[in-house]
């Protein structure tokens, strides 16, 4: 029956089959190349493998900044139906302890890739690795960790989201820290999981190098705490503290307030993030007198015992009136410095030829950058003799009409007290690779000889006098001879020199016979007190007292370093919880009491290093007081000191590492 209709259906079937065969031939034969290329493109990928960023360590190898492997989880909503979204939300809610609705909302929020969780730790990845839902994938996402929060924030600097150094050492040494990125030829499945790696066509990344600072973490901590304490007490606007080794220009600590938290740098203002110890200049005031005095003595234009008429506090010169706060009829040269007499200084400076004076100031490093290895330095302001007015030399002799950075001041003082040698200040002393092998060591750079050693010795003695019987008595320290010079300068404001706003500074050194530390403290616009001797000197004293207690090597050799003797110092110890610094540094009070690295350090048993990157493992081992010996690269698979055993410092822990497939996966993308 129905032959014609059967034929009609048959015809229809034949047409359909022909269309189908034609289409198949089109796709599989004529467009085969096109689709193969398309398949290749989505399956084979050249992945950029980011090199791990190097560590920043202090002078004793303590880690101040490191990079942590973290993982961000994404979901492709196009590949998820409602049921899968629901499962995914419950899994994430269980793993991260957040409300299920929170994840559901994220999954409903976009068509395409959505980020479910940013920067989760490795253990979360392990928990989630067994869950296979098409459309869920993750990628390695590194975080820069500052284990001591805001400590040395201005030195360390910070990185942006892509871990590029933006400020501080992170910026200055960015190309060392970054390392060389590698790439991988990878075959990956639909959710981006690499399935196999073509090693022949891959290049392993070279991890960034470690930057070892000259910073002494203990000094840094003490300086920050005491500077903060002093700033709070004096109600100043801001403050700077610098500690330097005068013998070679090593910077041991730099602290600025206000400060910021490198991790959350974006919530702070520019002014908080600025390293004002090198980016801002100030008129130093009386601390400049030591420099002028050194020039005069070096030229042989005055003798220590020579008596100068100091006019009982008021002296007119070329229409300007110079006054002394402490009035004296007459003072000898030494006393002029001890009592910080502007009039005495003016009279002495008059003996010095303008060009000579200028040359000395240049030789001490003023008016040009110190070329310290930190970004953003300014050269300061130094008038050339052609531009001097009649009173310029006089004002400059006691620190006006000249603007310097705090770092320039400390550098000049180092030369003043170390026998007359000007060193280039520096903050990085060593670069090592990821296995802690030294790549390069930075040697101190002697710039020039500025004054004769005996003049240096003389000035040093004068400055000891400042602390013993002069304006700097507040800086006196138990058991150690210290020297120094106070400085109080009126701040230049729109209405000329302010009668209300001062910069109070003190710059001191110890021990006097063989200075190992020179330290500058500047407090800008203090409200309680205005003199360097009353505002800045006590900060110096408190900080130095604690540093001397913490570091017995500072003490001069003639002081008996016996335990019983040494205990005397303990009563000067101030509570050093570090809380102040953090509160100041962290406006959101995100106090993270458990510094991840410290947690490890405080342990007395060996932690399990399995799965750590070489870099992390080496830094943990070194913090435990052990030596490390590394074999291979990648992730730790073996440690010679088993986890859980008691640590005996000084022993060597051997670790073996390997790139296993898992670690490759986690490192990809």
């Amino acid at each position: 029956m129905n032959k014609s209709r059967a034929l009609l259906i048959a015809f229809f079937l034949v047409v359909f089959f022909l269309v189908l065969v034609g289409k198949l031939a089109d796709i599989q034969i004529s467009k085969h190349e096109y689709y193969s290329a398309k398949a290749f493109r989505q399956q084979i990928d050249t992945l950029h493998v980011k090199a791990e960023r190097g560590l920043i360590l202090d002078r004793f190898g303590e880690t101040l900044v490191y990079t942590k492997d973290q993982f961000s989880f994404y979901a492709d909503t196009r590949m998820l139906n409602d049921r899968k979204k629901d499962t995914l939300a419950s899994v994430f809610s269980r793993t991260f302890g957040k409300d299920k609705e929170y994840f559901k909302k994220i999954l409903a929020s976009g068509n395409g890739n959505v980020c479910l969780w940013k920067k989760a730790d490795r253990d979360k990845l392990l928990q989630l690795e067994n869950i296979t839902i098409d459309g869920l994938f993750y990628e390695a996402d590194y975080s820069r960790i500052y284990p001591y929060a805001g400590l040395a924030a201005h030195v360390l600097g910070y990185v942006n989201r892509d871990l590029e150094g933006i400020a501080g050492i992170e910026n200055e040494y960015d190309k060392f820290l970054t390392g060389t990125d590698g790439f991988k030829r990878i075959e990956r499945d639909v959710i981006g999981r690499p399935v196999s790696v073509d090693d022949e066509q891959s290049l392993e990344p070279v991890a960034g190098q470690n930057v070892h600072l000259t910073i002494n973490k203990t000094y840094q901590q003490i300086l920050e705490e005491e500077l903060y304490f002093g700033l709070e007490k004096s109600k100043g606007k801001s403050a700077v503290g610098i500690i330097m080794n005068p013998k070679n220009g090593e910077i041991l600590a730099i602290s600025n307030f206000p400060t910021y938290d490198p991790k959350n740098y974006s919530v702070f203002d520019d002014i908080d993030r600025k390293n004002i110890s090198i980016t801002d200049m100030y008129e130093p005031g009386s601390t400049m007198k030591s420099v002028t005095m050194a020039a005069i003595l070096n030229e042989g234009l005055a003798k220590e015992s020579e008596v100068i008429n100091t006019e009982n506090g008021v002296y007119k010169i070329k229409g300007a009136k110079i006054t002394d706060d402490h009035k004296y009829e007459k003072l000898n040269v030494r006393e002029i410095l001890e009592h910080s007499s502007n009039i005495g200084m003016t009279k002495l400076a008059d003996r010095l030829d303008s060009r000579k004076f200028y040359k000395y100031l240049r030789d001490f490093g003023f008016g040009m950058p110190t070329y310290v290895d930190l970004p953003g330095e300014v050269p300061g302001m130094l008038k050339t003799p052609d531009n001097y007015s009649g009173t310029s030399k006089s004002f400059m002799s006691f620190g006006y009409e000249i603007a310097v950075t705090p770092l320039q001041m400390v550098t000049a003082y180092s030369a003043l007290i170390n026998g007359g040698l000007l060193y280039k200040p520096f903050i990085v002393n060593k670069i090592t690779n990821e296995f802690n092998n030294t790549i390069s060591e930075i040697k101190p750079v002697l710039i020039r000889k500025v004054i004769k050693p005996q003049i240096s010795q003389q000035i040093k003695e004068f400055m000891v006098g400042v602390v013993e019987q002069g304006t700097g008595q507040e800086a006196g320290i138990e058991r150690v001879n210290a020297g120094g010079k106070t400085g109080t300068s009126q701040r230049w404001t729109d209405e000329g020199y302010s009668k209300k706003e001062y910069n109070a500074s003190f710059i001191g050194f110890l021990p006097a016979d063989d200075p190992k530390i020179v330290c500058l403290i500047v407090v800008y616009s203090p409200q309680n007190g205005k003199y360097g001797g009353t505002v800045a000197a006590p900060i110096f004293k408190r900080a130095m007292q604690r540093i001397v207690e913490s570091d017995i090597d500072i003490l001069p050799n003639n002081v008996i370093k016996e335990e019983g003797e040494y205990k005397i110092f303990e009563r000067f110890s101030f509570s050093s919880s570090g809380k102040n610094v953090q509160e100041y540094a962290n406006p959101q009070k995100q106090n993270k009491p458990l510094y991840e690295k410290e947690k490890v350090t405080s342990r007395s048993t060996m932690p399990n290093l399995r799965g750590y990157s070489v870099r992390d493992a080496v830094s943990v081992i070194s913090e435990l007081g052990l030596k490390s010996e590394v074999q291979g690269r990648g992730r730790v698979i073996y440690q010679s000191i088993p986890a859980g055993t008691m640590i005996q410092k000084g022993k060597t822990c051997e670790i073996k590492c390997r790139f296993d497939r898992k670690s490759k996966q986690s490192e990809s993308k």
Binding site: M1, N2, K3, R5, A6, I9, A10, L13, F16, F17, V19, L20, V21, K23, L24, A25, I27, Q28, I29, K31, H32, Y34, Y35, S36, K38, A39, Q42, Q43, R78, M79, N81, D82, N111, G112, T132, I133, D134, E187, R188, D189, V190, I191, V195
Partner: protein
């Protein structure tokens, strides 16, 4: 009456072997796409057990007495409608459609098995008494029988299966001997409805064609007006129904009409399927070697996209073999239908042909990108117990009718 007792005459290996080959090719493809897939472990083993069950059921159906299909017609249709209602009330939602009825660990899709009910009952209804199928009332009855399940299935909503039922119903009405004008009246509203999807202009052009054809048929004004209004109403209703669809279903239709509109959404699967098939080339990449498959670029590939596993791993050669095997099966069924001496059996066979062909055409069509992505399994190859079992029942009925073809004169 001469009866040939040779086994060849009773059991058509020419139909059975192609079907068996398709099942085996399907098993290979399921194995390749699931054995390394973390969420589909065990699918191959399950499908293998279903294969044995289905072949067993096939033989049971094959040996059933001929009359069973007539006797069972009313009952199976009523049962089908019953389950289609039950599934709407207490069914489980799978892939967005409330289509799964679970009994403890077991379950099935009523919409799969209802095909048998509809085929048997429509064949029974057309041949129960002498009918003038060109009578509008009779057409109305026939459409009601076929479209009642369509309505229930659309409520699940499972558009793909509903389309199969529509094709099934139209094919059987066509085969029952309806006049060309009658077919025109039945089909034109559907065409008008489809045209409305492409916008007002296309819809108006379709209506103009309807009017021209009405002039050619030269019917009276009353009939013409009725048909025209039917077309108009179909267009409006379809537009309304389209807006009732779930967004993902809408986007599947629109992305087919304009593939560039949503290249990463509904178009994703279609594109990935094409990439898989196209990258297979002439010879294919070899069994278990298809990286598009092994890397899981196509979600749930073992169900609706099984054909691209074959296309990728067995190439143009494998794809063509599958198409040829289907061609043999479909042409054989059409041949049986046209030589069958019983009108009822003939109608049953056309129903079976319609079901198998629509599944085949829509599934392979969406794999190679000539039809929209509508979730329909490929008969005999796709993973799924209900589907395989039902298709083997249909083949069982086909071969049963073939076995008994000489009983009626």
């Amino acid at each position: 009456m001469k009866i040939d007792y040779k086994i060849q005459d009773k059991f058509d290996f020419g139909l059975f072997l192609p079907v068996l080959s398709l099942i085996i090719i399907g098993l290979l493809a399921i194995y390749s796409s699931t054995v390394n897939h973390p969420t589909a472990i065990g699918n191959f083993e399950r499908q293998l057990s279903w294969t044995f069950i289905s072949i067993l059921v096939f033989f049971i159906v094959y040996f059933l007495p001929q009359q069973t299909f007539r006797y069972a017609a009313i009952f199976s249709y009523a049962l089908s409608i019953f389950f289609l209602i039950v599934v709407l009330i207490m069914g489980k939602t799978v892939y967005g459609a409330k289509s799964w009825l679970a009994f403890g660990p077991f379950g099935f899709q009523p919409s799969e098995f209802a095909k048998i009910g509809v085929i048997l009952f429509m064949a029974y209804w057309f041949t129960k008494s002498e009918r003038n199928i060109n009578n509008p009332l009779e057409i109305g009855y026939a459409l009601t029988i076929g479209f009642l399940p369509v309505l229930l299935i659309l409520l699940e909503p499972d558009m793909g299966t509903a389309i199969v039922y529509i094709i099934l119903t139209l094919a059987m009405i066509f085969w029952s001997g309806i006049s060309i004008f009658g077919m025109f009246v039945v089909v034109s509203p559907g065409v008008a409805a489809f045209a409305s999807l492409f916008g007002l202009h296309v819809f108006i052009i379709a209506l103009v064609f309807v009017v021209i054809l009405l002039f050619i048929f030269k019917r009276n004004l009353y009939t013409n007006a009725t048909v025209f209004v039917l077309n108009l109403a179909a267009g409006y209703f379809f537009d309304y129904a389209f807006n009732m669809l779930k967004p993902h279903q809408q986007s599947r239709i629109t992305s087919f009409i304009d593939p560039s509109s949503d290249p990463l959404g509904a178009g994703y699967n279609a594109l990935q399927a094409k990439v898989a098939i196209g990258s297979g080339g002439f010879w294919g990449k070899g069994f278990m070697e298809g990286n598009q498959t092994q890397l899981r670029f196509i979600p749930e590939q073992w169900t609706d996209f099984i054909y691209c596993v074959i296309g990728e791993e067995f190439g143009f050669l494998g794809s063509i073999i599958v198409v040829i095997l289907f061609g043999i099966v479909l042409v054989k069924i059409l041949n049986y239908a046209s030589i069958s001496k019983s009108k009822s059996n003939s109608l049953i066979l056309i129903g079976i042909l319609a079901v198998l062909f629509s599944h085949f055409a829509i599934n392979i069509g969406m794999n190679v990108g000539i039809t929209p992505v509508i979730g329909l399994p490929l008969p005999f190859l796709s993973y799924g117990g209900s589907s395989l079992l039902m298709n083997m029942v249909l083949i069982g009925i086909t071969m049963n009718i073939y076995k008994n073809r000489k009983l009626h004169t």
